[in-house]
């Protein structure tokens, strides 16, 4: 069984982030692939999983999530190749440091060379970034400015702010991170399939759903 694991939605799940777990699981199951979705609560151990999903959260919960993950097996599992999709606060936590209320350099998990400082103002609005020539669309709502070290950005910003107004998120061979929060995977079926393809190590058959029409509509809106 292939396990998809949503980490601490009680702490990191502010903006419909549960949609990401739902979308990857449904798109796998509808192709006949074996997949199960598990949710890790505050008092649970982090289980073995093929893909971990991290959402966004407020300052206090973000700090606690970072502490819980630091003490768990999460870091070693990711270093061993487990896949991760992280959005918003999740993106910041995987990096070296981030800032939360009362602390400008709170230690992250250090899995990625990314430093997040406080942005000049909050970035709130429709968001689009170009990833390998394709648009990734969504909504951003965060106060961070993320600077990347020796790691590739996920995409270049087309609308909104992302990391710094130019680049958005980051990616490694098993980690994808973006400031498009919440149901970004639900809105971008092609991107979900990129992740699934990597997790299962196979080429995927096309799969049509109403999310295709939603994606086309959002692409039109952000391109205006």
């Amino acid at each position: 069984m292939t396990t998809f694991c949503v980490l601490y939605p009680d702490l990191l799940g502010t903006y419909g982030d549960g949609g990401n777990g739902l979308a990857v699981t449904q798109r796998a199951v509808r192709r006949g692939l074996d997949a199960e979705l598990v949710t890790v609560g505050l008092n649970d151990e982090v289980p073995d999983a093929a893909l971990y999903l991290l959402g966004g959260g407020e300052d206090g919960p973000q700090r606690l999530a970072a502490d819980l993950l630091r003490r768990s097996s999460f870091g070693s599992r990711v270093r061993d190749g487990a896949h991760v999709v992280a959005v918003c606060a999740g993106l910041q936590i995987l990096g070296s440091t981030f800032c939360v209320e009362g602390d400008d350099e709170y230690e992250g998990l250090g899995l990625v060379d990314a430093v997040t400082s406080r942005g000049e103002r909050r970035s709130v609005g429709e968001f689009a970034t170009r990833v390998d020539g394709q648009l990734l669309v969504g909504f951003e709502n965060h106060g961070g400015r993320t600077t990347l070290g020796g790691v590739d950005a996920l995409g270049t910003v087309v609308k909104g702010r992302g990391n710094d107004g130019k680049l958005d998120g980051y990616r490694t061979k098993n980690i994808w991170a973006t400031y498009a929060h919440g149901p970004v995977l639900a809105m971008n079926p092609w991107f979900t399939d990129v992740i699934l393809s990597s997790v299962y190590g196979v080429e995927l058959e096309p799969l049509t759903s109403v999310a295709d029409a939603l994606y086309q509509e959002r692409c039109r809106v952000v391109s205006v």
Partner: protein, 405 residues
């Protein structure tokens, strides 16, 4: 700006009424906000001067503000100054206060404006219903709102201010616990997804039955004044609550409204009789007709509102209509659709309406709920049954306007 001047305040107040009358006559607006803005330009502290000497009850919270305020108005009996159109920021308060000199005032207050409104109206009672995620693109984060409420209540100098607060919502308790005389209401509160992590220390809150506590010591208040189970008890007295309106959440709203009224000396038996008789509040729960369909209009603006409203639907596999917009008043970000437990609608066919019907349809599809995207309203098959239509804020207004009584 200078101190408040009686003449300037009178001029400002007259301007509010005149501009609002013009706005209504010319049909440029609903005539509640624009005049308020004009008045506050002339006299920035107009809310204070208009509220002075009156008995004010404020109502705030994510869900149930309008309904609870209406219940307070009805339960109080006779004329009460209020802002019934949902204009719940200072301009709307000014409009309501300028329109009527009645000494009894019930105002609903946008969550983000509670601090200002407490300071300007100096209320006798502030009723705090609940806090959950809503319009995050505007209000940012809900824990932050709880923090602002707490600070505002701490800063309020009037010792005789009474806070009537929901004891089952940890975020509300976090705000209300700073006052020594808070009237705690133990009312059913189903949505706890935003209070799983303690507002004080961020560790997990344990919920056992209706009790809850955190290891840091933060817990449900031990002494509650109002208890709502099968029976409603307010201050040791049983109250005969038999609402005409549906929904467990409306029983909770009524219990809080009655507790607030009790604090200003209203007789509970008379108040509850008047509240029981309410059939609908600004169109909410009303039955309307549209193109041969019979629709029951249900307002649901956010995840907790949707969860509460879906729990009232008949379990008969009937069609359900849902309309979603993401305009300014709704919040531009419909990500919250993924926080709504739409899986509750499995077994129904859901017709998707509104500007963001594709977002809704995708959400339902991932949740394995049968759906139809309605691109042409006129092609929806009619049925004799009454259809429940759940709509968020501007979508609800649209449907109220396009349907008939």
């Amino acid at each position: 700006m200078g101190k408040s001047s009686p003449v300037r305040d009178q001029v400002a107040s007259a301007a509010v009424r005149t501009v609002n009358r013009l706005s209504r006559i010319t049909r440029k607006g609903s005539g509640t906000v624009v005049g308020g803005r004009v008045g506050m330009k002339i006299a920035p502290d107009l809310v204070s001067s208009l509220a002075r000497g009156r008995t004010v009850i404020l109502v705030s919270g994510t869900n149930g503000k309008t309904t609870t305020t209406s219940m307070i108005v009805a339960g109080w009996g006779g004329p009460v100054t209020t802002n019934q159109t949902g204009a719940n920021m200072p301009a709307g308060h000014v409009a309501a206060l300028a329109a009527s000199k009645e000494g009894r005032v019930a105002l609903e207050v946008d969550e983000a404006w509670l601090a200002d409104t407490l300071a300007s109206t100096r209320p006798s009672v502030v009723t705090l219903l609940n806090l959950s995620r809503d319009q995050l693109d505007r209000a940012n984060e809900v824990r932050h709102l709880a923090e602002r409420w707490r600070k505002a209540l701490e800063a309020q100098p009037d010792d005789d201010l009474v806070v009537v607060a929901n004891a089952n919502d940890p975020l509300v308790v976090y705000a209300g616990e700073v006052r020594s005389n808070t009237v705690w209401c133990d009312v059913p509160t189903s949505w706890l997804a935003d209070a799983l992590s303690c507002p004080k220390c961020t560790l997990a809150i344990s919920h056992v039955g209706s009790a809850w506590h955190c290891v840091c010591g933060f817990a449900k208040p031990a002494h509650v004044f109002t208890t709502l189970g099968d029976e409603l008890i307010v201050g040791g007295t049983s109250v005969d609550l038999e609402l005409s309106m549906p929904g467990e959440f409306n029983r909770s709203n009524a219990a809080m409204a009655l507790s607030a009224l009790h604090c200003v000396g209203v007789d509970l038996d008379e108040a509850v009789r008047r509240i029981n008789a309410i059939q609908s509040v600004v169109g909410r729960f009303s039955v309307r007709r549209w193109h041969g369909h019979v629709l029951r209009l249900l307002l649901a603006k956010n995840p907790s509102g949707f969860a509460a409203m879906m729990a009232t639907l008949p379990q008969d596999g009937s069609d359900v209509w849902v309309a979603i917009n993401a305009r300014v008043a709704d919040g531009h970000d419909p990500s919250w659709l993924y926080d709504v437990p739409f899986e509750m609608l499995r077994g129904h066919r859901v017709y998707c309406f509104g500007d963001r019907r594709l977002d809704l349809a995708a959400r339902l599809d991932y949740g394995q709920v049968d759906f139809v995207v309605v691109d042409n309203d006129e092609l929806v098959p009619t049925s004799k049954e009454t259809i429940s239509l759940l709509a968020n804020y501007t979508a609800f207004s649209d449907w109220l306007a396009r349907s008939e009584a």
